[in-house]
Subunit: 203 residues, 2 copies
């Protein structure tokens, strides 16, 4: 029997959105359970590592957004064709991880002195990563790996709405290959139909 | 023909050590290229993302320590037996990632106000993660996943020397299941023989 999935996450895109895109892409049987602050306060201690996203697969729960995304990618046919292609996918995914940590590390820094210091370098660092990604997509015929859609593209595109929101502007402007990639992923029919009906929050 | 590997990394354990353990475990044909500050200063701009470790596989270079470790694990038989086991491995690996970022994020924080604030919570956070890992190992018969050696164990044990050094003490004391795990991984013959001949730095 086809497995039943339940995604537990906040009512934002961010780390839950690659999982939602992948579940949608594969037309899997899934439930999108969204938490507000009150619901999270009473549920936090029940989550394996006190964090979300958490994916329930037939009653068993798993944490860690990247691990979950890689697993689902395999189920829906968006993994690499061999080990070396998976290495390239993982390399792009880990680079995106570094990139989003620069933005999140600045945005969520609770110490004003430290946040101000990070803010000075933020634009340069964002530019550093965007240039790398732009070049990777140019070198790979419009995708992050080998000229075809893989879960690296989904992992990159899905949470952008959130990171653009906290950064305060659309940082992909001036990076035409990345903008094309965003359009392509979001226009994938099953993903487009999920986006059309997802809650219309600002992040 | 069997591939030739060259690992480029600093002369410390840290993010390079899981890769060295895996290359050793598989008795692969590899060269351990270690950088001092001067060599790194002249090489940094040649690395794909300006970082190390970087692994050269038959003349092609790859970055990102976790991506490289997962790839090598597959080559040497330390991946999971199926997708769900790989999800459990990746979950443990990503949890270790969160753990080491708490320690590294404190140690490398350049802003005194911010570093002091992190230091106040550091012990609690380290305890939080160690308790989780201790419980995972107890629940999995002495390993991180399903009672057998996988690359999650190698990924956890290999860089501990470094993180204990920067933390300033052996934080595994009081966690008997973790201490047993460290011993088991380090006693694996091919890994033990690598450790016996590795440069005897303090980290």
């Amino acid at each position: 029997m086809a497995p039943k999935y339940k995604l537990h996450y906040f009512d934002v895109t961010a780390l839950g959105e690659p999982i939602r895109f992948l579940l949608s892409y594969g037309n899997l049987d899934w439930e999108d359970i969204r938490y507000d602050d009150a619901k999270w306060a009473e549920s936090k201690s029940k989550m394996p590592f006190g964090q979300m996203p958490v994916l329930d697969i037939d009653g068993k729960i798993y944490a860690q957004s990247t691990a979950i995304s890689r697993y689902l990618a395999k189920q829906v046919g968006l993994s690499g064709k061999d080990d070396l292609e998976n290495l390239q996918i993982d390399q792009a995914v880990d680079l995106f991880h570094d990139f989003r940590q620069k933005i999140g590390g600045w945005f969520y820094d609770p110490i004003p002195e430290s946040k101000a210091a990070k803010e000075k370098d933020l634009k340069d660092q964002v530019t550093f990563y965007l240039k790398k990604f732009e070049q990777i997509v140019k070198d790979n015929n419009g995708f992050l790996v080998n000229g075809k859609l893989t879960w690296a593209d989904v992992y990159f595109v899905a949470p952008l709405k959130y990171f653009k929101f906290i950064y305060g502007s659309d940082f992909t402007e001036g990076y035409p290959a990345l903008q094309e990639l965003v359009k392509k992923v979001e226009a994938t029919p099953a993903i487009a139909s999920y986006i059309a009906k997802r809650p219309a929050g600002d992040r």
